[in-house]
Each structure stands twice: as C-alpha cells, then as structure tokens.
Symmetry: C2
Subunit: 478 residues, 2 copies
Amino acid sequence: MKNKKSNFSEWYSEVIQEAELADIRYNVKGFLAHMPWSVRTMKNMYCIVERELEKKGHEPAWFPALIPESYFKKEAEHAEGFSADVFWVTEGGSDNTKFSERLALRPTSETAMYSMFSLWIRTWRDLPYKIYQSCQVWRFEGKSTRPFIRGREFYWTEAHDVFETKEEAEKQVEEDRDTTCNVLKEFAIPFIFFKRPEHDKFKGAVSTYAADSIMPDGKIIQLPSTHFLGQNFSKAFNIKFVDKKGDEKYAWQTCYGPAVWRIFGTLVAIHGDDKGLILPPSIAPLVAVIIPIYFKGSDEKVMEKANAIKKLLESRCISAKVDDRAEHTPGWKYNYWELKGVPIRIEVGPKDIEKKQLVLVRRDTGEKAAIKESELVEKITKFSEEIQSNLAKRAEKFFKEHISEANDMAQLKKILEEQGGLVKVEWCGSEECADYIKAETVGGDIRGTPLGKEEKPKGNCIWCGNKAEQAVYVGKAY
Amino acid sequence: MKNKKSNFSEWYSEVIQEAELADIRYNVKGFLAHMPWSVRTMKNMYCIVERELEKKGHEPAWFPALIPESYFKKEAEHAEGFSADVFWVTEGGSDNTKFSERLALRPTSETAMYSMFSLWIRTWRDLPYKIYQSCQVWRFEGKSTRPFIRGREFYWTEAHDVFETKEEAEKQVEEDRDTTCNVLKEFAIPFIFFKRPEHDKFKGAVSTYAADSIMPDGKIIQLPSTHFLGQNFSKAFNIKFVDKKGDEKYAWQTCYGPAVWRIFGTLVAIHGDDKGLILPPSIAPLVAVIIPIYFKGSDEKVMEKANAIKKLLESRCISAKVDDRAEHTPGWKYNYWELKGVPIRIEVGPKDIEKKQLVLVRRDTGEKAAIKESELVEKITKFSEEIQSNLAKRAEKFFKEHISEANDMAQLKKILEEQGGLVKVEWCGSEECADYIKAETVGGDIRGTPLGKEEKPKGNCIWCGNKAEQAVYVGKAY
C-alpha cells in the first residue's frame, strides 16, 4: 500500500482497487463498475440520507432519466450552464429511427420534475411540496475523472421543494444545512457550509450554498449543495398556485443535492490509512469480523464458538461475519479485513475459549483488548461508539489544522502551495479579482462566506486593494 | 370509479391516476413520472426482493447504464434479440461531439456485467459468484405502453450468477423459483412457474423459465423470469476459471429478473376494487390511517387521542398517520384513503373516547369493528394478518377459476374468448403449430410446462393431430 500522506493520489487509486470498491476498467470513460463492498456501504449511506429527508417532510418520487430537449431548454441560464454536460439520446429501435427531438440523459432533474410540478400544484393547499429522488445522473465531464470524486455517471439524491413565499424557501436553505450537518456527522466528515459567490452559482439559481470539506492532500471537495431558485424556474415552467386570497402567484423553489457517491469517496480518503479503508461503524457493511484461530484438533470447537458469536451479535442488530476460509491463515485474514475497513476484529482461539475470553482489535487505533466473553455485546457497542467519535475527532483535527488566514497574496500563495486547505482572505466581491486570484494561485477558488457566520471584513481586497466587501475562504478544489 | 369487472382497462387507468400512482403526461412516450404513493410502496417491495436475494447469497452491485455497442454485440443471438429495443446515445458535450462508438442505454445488463466478470473470475475459489443490481432499464418498445405493465423505462432487479458446473447453474433456476414464490407470496400474487417453449426463450439463453399470473381481464402477465444461460455468454465474454484440478474451464451462468415495477402493476390490478387500490399490509406505506371525528368543542381531545394512537402504533413498528386536514369531512377522508388502499382505518370520535373504544374498518371487506382501546395493537396485528391472507385467498380463487383445459381448438378458442386465463392443451412441440394456434386464437401463446410438475401428454397435438410431446398451457398475454 502506498503511503497516504506522501502520495495521496496513488494511495487513493490503490485503496479503490485493493479494497474492491470499484473497477475502472469498464470500457466507457468516467463510468465505473461498482463492487459489493462499496455498494453495501453506499446503500447504508442512502438510508441515512433518505431517513433525514423524510423526517423533514420529503416524500420519494421517481422521474424519467430522459428529458426532451425542449423541457431542458426552458430555463435559459440553466440550459446554457448544463449544455456542455449532456449525453444525448438521438436514435433507437431496429431501424435506428432518428428522433425528431433529442433526449437528454438527465444531468440533474429540475427540468424533468418542474414540467410535472406545473400540472400538480394548484393551490396553497398543495404547498409546501417537498419530494426527493435517489438516482443516477450523467454528465459529459470534460475534466479528468476519478472514482467517487468526479465521474460521467454518479449516484446522488436530489430534493426539490416548492413554497408559497420567498421566506419559506429561504428557510429551506437553513433546513438543508441542518440536514447536511446531521448526515455528514454520521459519516464523521467535517465541513463548512458556504454561501457561494455570485459568479459560482448553480446555473438558474438566485443563490447557491454548499458544504466544503478538505481532502488529505489539502484540496477542497464540494459535498451537498443547496440552491435558492427564487421564481426563476417557476416562471419558466409555469408553476403557479392560487393563494389564500384567491390570487394566482408564481411559486418559490429550492433544490438540494447530496451525492452519496462523492461523500463515499470523501470518507474513503479522509478516514483511511496505510493499511486501507477505515469505515465508520454507522455505515460499515460489517461492524465486526470474527476470525477463528485453528490449531489441530480444536477446529470444531473454535468454529462453533465463532458461529455462536455471530448469531449473538446479529440478534442484537450488530452485523458480523465469520471468515471461515480454510485456504488462508489468520494473519492473511487480518490484513484482508483491515484493508476492507471493518471497524472491529474478533479473534477466537482455543485458549480464549478455555479462558472464556475473546480478543477484540480496533481498526482505527490497532488497540487490542482481551475481554470476558460475557461482555461481548456491551464492549462491541462501546468500541463502535469510540471508533465513530475517534474518526470524527481525527478528521476534525486535520480539518481545523487546514483552516488558516492570509493578509496578502504572497502569504495566500505560500499556504495554498504548502498545505492547501481553506484560507480566509478579504475580497472586494468582483469576479475580475476572483479570476486574478485564481490565476495567481494556480487554482485557488473563492469558496464563499460561511452561512450564518459571516464575518465583517476589516481591510482591503487581497488582490485590488480596494475596500473589502466580504471575508471569504479560498481553496483549490477537486 | 369505473367498474373493474366490466371495464378493467379503464378502471386500471383511472386508479393509476386517481390514487396518484403515476402521471402519464410526461412528454416522452412510455416514460412515467412516479408519485410518492407508488414509490413508497415499490421501495417496500424492493426491500423484500433484495432481502430474499441476499439471504440466498447474492451481493449488491451497480453497473453502468451505458454499454458500448461492441460489448452489446458480443453474444450474437442476444444482440439480435435486443437490437430493436435499444435507445442509443450518440453524442454529447457542448459541441455535440459524435461518439466513435454508439452507447446503448442498458435494456438489460448481461453485456455490461459479463465484460467485467471475465476480469474478476479467476479460479474455482471465486465461484459461485452471485450478484444483483436494482436499477432502471430502457427498452424502445414498439408495442403500446401501459403504466407499470409495459413501458420504455422500468424498474427492476437483475441477479446474475456464475458457477463451476452445469448442475449448479440448473439448481439455481430452482432457487430462483423459490425466490419468486417467497416474494410473490408477500404480495399475495398467485402464479405458475413455467418452462417456456424453445421458440420463446430469452435471447442468448439455453432455457427460460417465468412466473405467469392472470390479470382481472383474463390476460396473462409475465412476472419474474430466470434464464439458464449455459456457456453461451461465458464463451462470448471469455469468463473462464481454473478448476480444482488446475484446468481452465468456461463458467456456467444464470440470470434472473424480478421487475418490482411490473409486479406493482399486477398487484394494483389483482387486489383493487371499485373503490380503488387495496394494498397488502406487507408493503403498504401506511398500515393504518387515523381519522379524527370532530364535533364542536371536542377537537382537542380527539386530536390528542389520534396522535397518541399514532405514536403507540409507530412504537410497535406499525406505520400510521393522522389525517388532520381541517378542510375535509371525515366522509371525504374515508373515500380518499380507500382509494389509496390503506389496509385499516381507525376512527376516533368523542363518544369513542368516552367509551374507551375505537372503530376499525378493514379496507378489503369493509368490515367495521368497535374494539377496546387497550386491545388496539393486538387487533391491528390480527387484522393485518387477516387482510393479507384474505387478499391471497381471493386472488388464488380467481386464479384457479381461470385455469382450465381444452381438448380441441374450438373449445380452446371459446375459453380464451369468454374467460381467458390459462388453458391446458396437448402439443406436438413444433413452432409451426404454436404459430397456427396463436393465429387461430387471436393471440393465444404457448406459455410452457410448469417447472417440476410436468404432466405427461396422453393424446395428440391440438393443432396438427400428431402425437403430443408436452402438456402445455395457452393464454393471451400482455
């Protein structure tokens, strides 16, 4: 295994391959074959995301993957912003009939959904209207692709909400921040929730907000984003309602897009170490793996005990598996499951049975503990909680160490070059200065101001020297 | 609501629309916008299907939605059989770059998956290899589409299994029948599991097996099907393994495709009545809906009780909802939730509170029962079980009444015309006779012989009069 710290990029590719998360050899650029270990983890992640959205009044829906070009083009700015990203379906059937209208493979579903919202929403009684769908989207990415970070096909959830008033829609942005917080906490991922600058908005939105985390190489990764759409789409798609007074009004909208696929890539990167993956117990497909340690003549007793432990754990809703492969040594199995990131290993040998004890090993710290067999469930629960909070603590520490401040361009450049992360600077607000800053730092983007924690600027723009309008954070992003 | 018995087709369309299951007005032929009530039900159905597959050793995977034309064409018969069904992605990006190779929107995933299997499977230790994915597929259907029955986009699960020996693969077909049985039982859908005749196989398969049920109009609907692929695909995709003796061998394969989307349509059709949907409690998004009955001055007490009941039920994992909409009368709400098919209604009024009782109403029979409040959980559980078994019993009765036997063509034609269903006849096995039978009966297909219950033919082919080789069932299918 490559060294994560000194060689993050290669370490990441290696862990994807060695832990059997995905195979990049599928013969379409930017498309992955996803293997069971990552899919089982992402399915657990989806449960968390969907539970949180449903708790907040969203209901699930499924919309078509294909969008007629005419729907797609209804909101001009949106269509322009996404046009470079679209895969087009142009023909089908045995005689390869060319379609009279091209069909877009959805890069996002606003235009598919909102064409129906205009039929479904009639009066204030239908509002707020909150739905979500978990699905794949496809984007014809020009940038180089990387598994679970940037792909031409990825897995996400998109929530789309419709309101009577601007205020309610603006409140939804805060609710989405809260959802992001609850969800990323389960995955032990630290982040700042930014209001993006004007020039970096979602195409078609009035304003855009997004969670940024920091990868081990100091680069920024955008996680869930949420958009206040104002009435831009409701006007383009004719989403109107009759209000309590009987007047017809255009609705106010938001959309929110947590991408489980990318969050998975982020947690692989953030929590892993030189032995491989480390999965938070909250989403690991297995919380514990049981390794029977054989010696001649003791096989049967050991296997019996291992299976009994598995049964006991499962009866308490703790997922567990016995690795009973005869062709491998216990040592080989330790490595195998460490690579896969299973939070806790349970070792059972004949001596342990005699002493009515078991050996537990934590994946995050490597710590070993001999425990009484009778305390197993209690200890596994305790260890799980400790691992979960240790991963969060570690990640938080790294994150905080990579938040800094710069007073001039030289300092900003130096920090971005040497350690990356998010660097606070003051900025006049002009896109021109943002472009110069990006060019000068070779990729430093203005990520925005933290929502709800805006800081007043005290001085001048780090680039032009004019009066600063905002204190913003700069980072080089994936 | 239309009368289901006399006007099934219109009744079906109406229930899809009125119960807000899906909207057919999305502007691409054969594509639906799926609304929350159907999606919540289908998500519950997916849990049942996936749990059953995992119990039998399958692990989840996700494969790309796009398949390069060259992969798609590797197995000649398969490619030919599906070529009429394919939507092609031919261009993308801002300058609409034409791709050098067309990409198929997957109509099914054999060719996507098996190109990877050839990289992943090395030795007998990797076998059996059993995975599944739940996904959408797209087929450029020529036939007329109908929601949840035939569409150009639909939702299914596909399981793909690889084995060392022919015998193991053949055994898998029986396991798939068992899976079908367990799954359809949860949905209270009766069926016969047929081995299809040679001329009606899945393209690329050695043999095909499928569950057939009977719709209220007497037409046959194909539900999960499973295919013994032999070595056809392993040879085309080079899926080889080294066996225990060290020899390199081609693998044996099967695939299995339960389509939740179509099973949902079937259960809507089979269980519903002239008041709307009837959902089996095993998969209903809500098992019970609580209707508070207000009179002046009693609102608060009634609402409090209604909410307390909801809490109690949820604490026992029984999904429940209070319909507290002030703008509608209790009577309006009864109709609304009957249309949606919620299995049990709970009525709470001030008199009930005084008497410490509740009124329960069963959706399937309309039966009303005043019960002691203290017995609520127990009674709901009992009613759920009774509804589940009553739906199964009703469906089974209809199914059996539509299984018959014909000794000559006149009788076969008469039965198919008058009541439809499955009609047992004797057949020589030639495709020519099958074609004549189909033409003469205006659509009667030979569905095959029941797997594991083959009956010896006693006489002659119903068409040509030569010696019969098989006792088969004929029906007109969707």
